[in-house]
Structure formats: structure tokens, C-alpha cells
């Protein structure tokens, strides 16, 4: 269970859809629990998601119904990737614990999209998404408090009003294994670069690696 936390326009939906695109491309199914009722299929298709393999579920408003819908989807074991786009609040309590167990039993990855303050206790990986970086706050075997930053291009660069070449790479990251510095106070973090890569690219291409 991973949660992507971010404010409006942080790019959390684009990040989740980027993963969905990769999964549908190999023929697997993705379910999107659209509690907010705002998912826009033309934009989803533009990101490379195969709409035939994307099940959109719009349950009545409420946290419990969203959890219930995700539980039904996970129980089928046909959807390895399930996204819950939470309108408000956080997923906790019995409903959250049961959903986590069902997702675990089904070997499914569950991704929660939520506002920054709505931290769920069921998530094992927490990523804070902002327009210029995604911060892994907590993940797997990493000790509590460990943080890593992954710079990426936000969806605004997909805008039809921007030059076309900027639309090509949506999600970009530092080379695998790079230790990422903390940002300076009052300013955004500069993208990290490994020495080898900096030499090879003249210091300008750290944003061209695809997230693995």
C-alpha cells in the first residue's frame, strides 16, 4: 500500500497514471476508484493508459464506499494495480485494515491519492508529491524518517500550450542509487546528479533518466 500525498496540481494523479500506463501496456488491468469523479479519460489516454484495460469505479461519496469498492476489485485478483483517488479524509480503521489485508492476499498494489494532511495509517510507502519533486518519506525496510527525493517533470509540462518536446518525458528521476540532498531552506531542491552522469552529460541531463 503506497500513498501519494500532494496538494492540488502537485502531480500525484499524473504519477499514478504513469504507472498505470506502464501496467496496461503489458496487458494487465488497472482499477481507478474515482471518488472525486474528476478523472478525465482523454487526458488519461494521452498519458498512454490503455482505456480498455482501465476500470473506472465511481462509488457514492464517502471513505467507506471507496474502501468497499477497492476491496471488491482486489478480491477478484484480476487487478494488480488499484488506485483510490480520495476526495477527502483518510483511509483508516477497520475498513482500511481490511482493505490492506485483501490487497496483500491478492498480491495487488494499492495506491492512495490524498491531500498532504490526510496521512493514512495503512500505507507502507508514503511519497509526498510536489510540482518539482517526489519525496519518499517512508518506505518498506527504510527506517522511519528516511527521506529520498526524486525530481520529476510535473504534468503542467504536458500542457498543449507548451512546446511539444516538453510533453515527451513526464516522469523523470535521478539515476538509481543516487543519494539525494535535502533542499536548502526557502528554495526548491536542485536535482541531484551522480558524478559519472554529470561528466557524461555536462551537468545538464539528470532529468532524462526514466524512473525505474
Amino acid at each position: 500500500v503506497a500513498e501519494l500525498l500532494g496538494a492540488r496540481s502537485s502531480g500525484k494523479a499524473a504519477l499514478a497514471l504513469q504507472a498505470a500506463a506502464r501496467i496496461t501496456k503489458v496487458g494487465q488491468l488497472v482499477a481507478w476508484i474515482d471518488s472525486r469523479r474528476e478523472l478525465y479519460p482523454p487526458a488519461v489516454a494521452a498519458l498512454g493508459v490503455d482505456l480498455r484495460r482501465l476500470l473506472i469505479v465511481r462509488p457514492p461519496a464517502g471513505m467507506i464506499t471507496a474502501a468497499r469498492a477497492a476491496e471488491i476489485v482486489a478480491q477478484s485478483r484480476a487487478f494488480p494495480f488499484i488506485v483510490i483517488d480520495l476526495a477527502e479524509g483518510r483511509l483508516e480503521g477497520n475498513a482500511g485494515a481490511r482493505l490492506r489485508q485483501v490487497a496483500h492476499d491478492a498480491n495487488a498494489a494499492l495506491v492512495l491519492l490524498a491531500m498532504p494532511h490526510a496521512v493514512s495509517s495503512i500505507a507502507q510507502v508514503r511519497i509526498e508529491v510536489s510540482p518539482r519533486q517526489a519525496i519518499l518519506v517512508r518506505g518498506g525496510a527504510a527506517p522511519a524518517g528516511a527521506r529520498a527525493r526524486v525530481p520529476w517533470i510535473p504534468p503542467r509540462d504536458l500542457s498543449p500550450f507548451r512546446p511539444p518536446e516538453r510533453r515527451v518525458a513526464l516522469l523523470q528521476a535521478a539515476p538509481a542509487g543516487t543519494v539525494l540532498p535535502r533542499p536548502r531552506q526557502g528554495g526548491p531542491a536542485s536535482p541531484p546528479e551522480s558524478d559519472e552522469r554529470r561528466r557524461a552529460t555536462g551537468g545538464a541531463a539528470s532529468r532524462s533518466a526514466v524512473l525505474r
Binding site: R8, R52, L55, I72, V119, P143, L158, R167
Partner: protein, 506 residues
């Protein structure tokens, strides 16, 4: 820096109740010897208190007033394990935990986390371990602790940042760690609240009246500078459950072992580790049966351990009934995340998909689960429609070339997206927005009652059409970025001249 204090009321009683749940709701007390003298009651349950038992009574006195009271000898090792468990539960959500004394623990609230929700999560984690707690969150240790004492009916009490002194002011002087004589003297002088004490001139107060050599007046002013001493769990994790009645059958035994293994796993995960070897001991009639659970790799899963125990016990015949269960994590290992392979899996069963869609529709309505198909329309709201979810590959037609396996699916756009398709969230219908003055950089956008200063603006991009219908389309689209990081897709409607919010880039 914010500090959360967790107090576990009636801690000694809680420790006994979590290992012997049948004590809950009964009349029982804990006996402890003090300084080699006769054992006295140091804690008693509410029922025992109602029957007349009080702290300080000897066992004889307690039984005289309440013949049915159960008196249990104090178990310091169990109390240490209880605090260890509490510390491990808190470590799962905070980097610094201080297990201060029996029944009290402190944790550093993670930066950017809400104090209230952090405390609620921690209380829930403690509850899963069988411990009930109250929490107080404040800028310093003492105020956080006082918050748990001031309002015992509230599970979580958060003192606002910078509000420690004001919060402490009306609280009774008894909260401060002062000697009884000093407190009585102060009461004679009319000093009755923490605020009264804080207002005394420092030279007349003296700085070290308490036994712990703490500057008590600094505590009263909300300036407790004592740091948290990091708790490092070292003792072997042990959990114990005493049964009210003896059990000899396998299934009830496994049913009761589950919460025991849950607790052990929760604690080991709190340490950031996983269980490599777990020794389960079943005791009864003076005999003990041991089962060593050794998963192939260290695991945080109590379910796996339970399956191993089931397999272990299914091959044995217990020669004694079971009265007590014990689980000890004798060896810990690295907690390694198991990575799922999302991309290389067997094709999903069409029947399973059909059943799922049917269940979703039955639960939430016919239109609740669907797939989307793109429509060749310029109006953004009409550029897609619902269709039934059928992920099976389209049938090939005779005489047509076989599509390449890596070809884009038919629904994916072959061209770059049309205007607006990058707005991942579309509001349907568009919601009206107001602009102070002209829509330009520096203008203020009012949406849903919130004001947003425009920092970037591009457009207009005109969209016109459907002039042959009753509702012709005429819109000038703008892409707007606001000071608070918002990125919106707006349009000015030619029909009524108003600005509408069409979508949000996310």
C-alpha cells in the same frame, strides 16, 4: 519541535489484563512488597475499588472488605515488557521515543504531521497491543504530560504551539513535582495553581525543590527543556496469554494464538525488524510443548507464522491441555520489502472480471463501474463516453494484417492531445469562477470562496463550434498558475461572458 506524551492509566492493571483477558471487568488488585515490609495493594480495578479495596491495604485487609477480590503478585518483568511494547509501538511512527517511567512514554511528533492525527494513530497502535492510552501534544514534555492529566475524558489533547504557559496557568499545583511540605507551604501562602507558582519571583522560589532536580518553575512556565532520551529496544520480545479454561483442540488454540503473534509481529516491526525465529510455548498441567517457527526469510507477517504453527501442531498430539500460551521472538532479521511483480503475471480471468463488475454494479448502481471510450468531439466534457468494461483483445478480421503486439491500443490517441486533454481532472459541469478585474497576471481568482493570486497565464485558445445546435460552443481557454501552486484550466464563455473553471492539472 512538538512532543506527544502518552499515559497509560492503570498501567499495572492493563499489563495483567492483556495477558489474562478474563480479569477484565472483575475485582482484582496487584500486591507488591515495599522496602521489605508486608505486601500491600499498589493498584486495584474499578470493581475492587467499589467493593472497598484501596491502595495501601495489606492482602488481609483487602480480603476482609472484599472476599472475592483476586490479588496478584506484582511482576516487574512483565511491566518492563509492557513498556517495551509501548515503546516499540510508538517507534513505528516516530523516530525518537522516550519510555520515561511505568505508564508514561513520549514521542517526537514527525515534522509536518498533525499532532492530533499522529496521537490518534499511535493510540490505535497501542490499542492493537492491548494497551489503552491518552495523549497530550505540546511544545515541551511537561505540558504534554499535563495535557493528559488535565482533561482525562479527552483521548487526545493538543496544546497550541506557543500556548504552553497559558494552558498550564489554571491547572492545580498538584501537577508539579513538588514535595508535600513545599506544596502545603505554598497553599498556606495562597499559591494554588501552576500559574500562581509561575508568577512568583524566581529568587524567592529556589530552583531545585523537586527530588529530580528539575527547575520546577521552568516547568510551570511551559519551558521544560529536558530532551527526550532515545529508547532503544533490547530485551527479547515476549508475549503471554493466560487462558481462563484449559483447551486441548487445535482450532481454538490457533484462534487464541493469533492475537499473540499479531502483537509480537507488531512489536518487531516497530523495531524496524522482522521475525526470523519465534518460539511458541504451550503450557498446562506442569508440562510445556514448544514449537519453533522458522520461516525461510525473516517475516513481519503473523499470518505466515500462524500457518507455520498450524502445520507444526497438526503433526503432533498434545499430551496435555493448554492453560497458557507464550510467544518469544528469539531471533530477529532484516525487514526486507517484498517487491511485487506487476508486469509479468498471468492473464486475468474474464469470469473474475465479469463477476467483479457485476458486484460493483450491484453494490453502487449500474453506472458505477465502466470503461471509457473517446469520442470525436471538441467540447471537452463530451470528448468521452461510458462503455462496458471488456478488456479482452478485439477480434481479428479476416483479410486484415495482424497488428503488431507493441502497437498502441485503439483508444490511445495517435496524435498529440487536443487542447485541454492534459487537464487530468475535469469538472463536469464547469464551475463558475470570479476574477477581480481583468484575467491577467496579478489578478485575483475567486473559486469556491477561496482567493488565488494569478502568477502565470497563457492563452486565450479559442474553441468554437456546434453553431448548428441550440447550445453553440464558444470559449476562450486560459491556463492559469496561482501563487499557492494551483494550475487550472479556465475558459471565458462567449455566451454569458463569465469565467468558468474547467479542469485542474494534477
Amino acid at each position: 519541535m512538538r512532543i506527544a506524551c502518552f499515559t497509560l492509566p492503570g498501567f499495572l492493571l492493563q499489563v495483567h489484563a492483556r495477558s489474562a483477558p478474563h480479569l477484565v471487568g472483575t475485582s482484582f488488585g496487584v500486591l507488591a512488597e515495599t522496602e521489605g515490609k508486608v505486601a500491600r495493594v499498589v493498584a486495584c480495578s474499578r470493581r475492587a475499588r467499589e467493593e472497598g479495596v484501596k491502595e495501601g491495604m495489606t492482602a488481609t485487609q483487602a480480603r476482609a472488605v472484599a472476599p472475592r477480590v483476586t490479588l496478584i503478585d506484582a511482576q516487574p518483568a512483565a511491566y518492563r515488557q509492557g513498556m517495551q511494547a509501548a515503546g516499540e509501538a510508538l517507534l513505528a511512527s516516530s523516530v525518537t521515543v522516550d519510555v520515561d517511567q511505568l505508564g508514561t512514554a513520549y514521542a517526537l511528533v514527525p515534522p509536518r504531521a498533525s499532532g492530533h492525527s499522529f496521537a490518534e494513530r499511535a493510540i490505535e497502535a497501542l490499542r492493537r497491543l492491548g494497551l489503552m492510552a491518552r495523549a497530550g501534544v505540546a511544545d515541551d514534555r511537561f505540558t504534554a504530560w499535563a495535557a493528559t492529566q488535565a482533561t482525562p475524558h479527552e483521548q487526545v489533547r493538543v496544546v497550541a504551539h506557543g500556548g504552553s504557559a497559558a494552558f498550564l496557568r489554571p491547572l492545580p499545583l498538584s501537577l508539579l513535582p513538588l514535595d508535600g511540605d513545599v506544596r502545603r507551604t505554598l497553599a498556606l501562602l495562597g499559591v494554588r495553581t501552576v500559574g500562581d507558582f509561575a508568577a512568583l519571583p524566581p529568587p524567592s522560589v529556589g530552583r531545585r525543590w523537586s527530588e529530580t532536580a528539575v527547575d520546577v518553575q521552568a516547568l510551570a512556565r511551559g519551558e521544560d527543556r529536558r530532551p527526550l532520551c532515545a529508547f532503544v529496544p533490547e530485551e527479547t520480545i515476549q508475549e503471554r496469554l493466560e487462558l481462563e479454561e484449559e483447551i486441548a483442540e487445535l482450532e481454538p488454540l490457533l484462534f487464541l494464538t493469533r492475537p499473540l503473534l499479531d502483537r509480537a509481529c507488531q512489536r518487531v516491526v516497530g523495531r524496524g525488524r522482522a521475525a526470523a525465529r519465534v518460539l511458541v510455548t504451550l503450557r498446562g498441567e506442569g508440562k510445556a510443548t514448544e514449537a519453533l517457527l522458522a520461516p525461510s526469510r525473516p517475516t513481519p507477517s503473523s499470518r505466515l507464522l500462524l500457518d507455520l504453527l498450524r502445520a507444526h501442531l497438526a503433526e503432533r498430539i498434545l499430551d496435555h491441555p493448554v492453560q497458557a500460551l507464550e510467544a518469544a521472538v528469539t531471533e530477529e532479521g532484516r525487514l526486507e520489502a517484498q517487491e511485487l511483480d506487476l508486469l509479468d503475471r498471468a492473464a486475468p480471468s474474464p469470469d473474475a472480471v465479469d463477476r467483479t463488475v457485476a458486484r460493483l454494479r450491484a453494490a453502487f448502481g449500474e453506472g458505477a463501474a465502466f470503461a471509457a471510450v473517446l469520442e470525436d468531439r471538441y467540447r471537452p466534457e463530451a470528448a468521452w463516453s461510458l462503455t462496458s468494461f471488456d478488456p479482452s483483445p478485439p477480434r481479428r478480421r479476416r483479410g486484415r494484417a495482424t497488428p503488431r503486439p507493441d502497437a498502441l491500443p485503439p483508444t490511445a490517441p495517435a496524435e498529440l492531445p487536443r487542447a485541454g486533454q492534459a487537464a487530468l481532472r475535469l469538472l463536469d459541469p464547469p464551475t463558475p469562477a470570479d476574477v477581480d478585474g481583468q484575467l491577467a497576471r496579478g489578478a485575483t481568482l475567486v473559486m469556491d470562496g477561496h482567493r488565488h493570486a494569478v502568477t502565470e497565464l497563457s492563452g486565450p485558445s479559442r474553441l468554437e463550434g456546434e453553431w448548428w445546435t441550440d447550445a453553440p460552443l464558444g470559449r476562450d481557454y486560459y491556463e492559469v498558475e496561482t501563487e499557492d501552486g494551483g494550475h487550472y484550466w479556465l475558459f471565458r464563455n462567449h455566451v454569458d461572458g463569465r469565467i468558468y473553471l474547467q479542469g485542474i492539472f494534477d
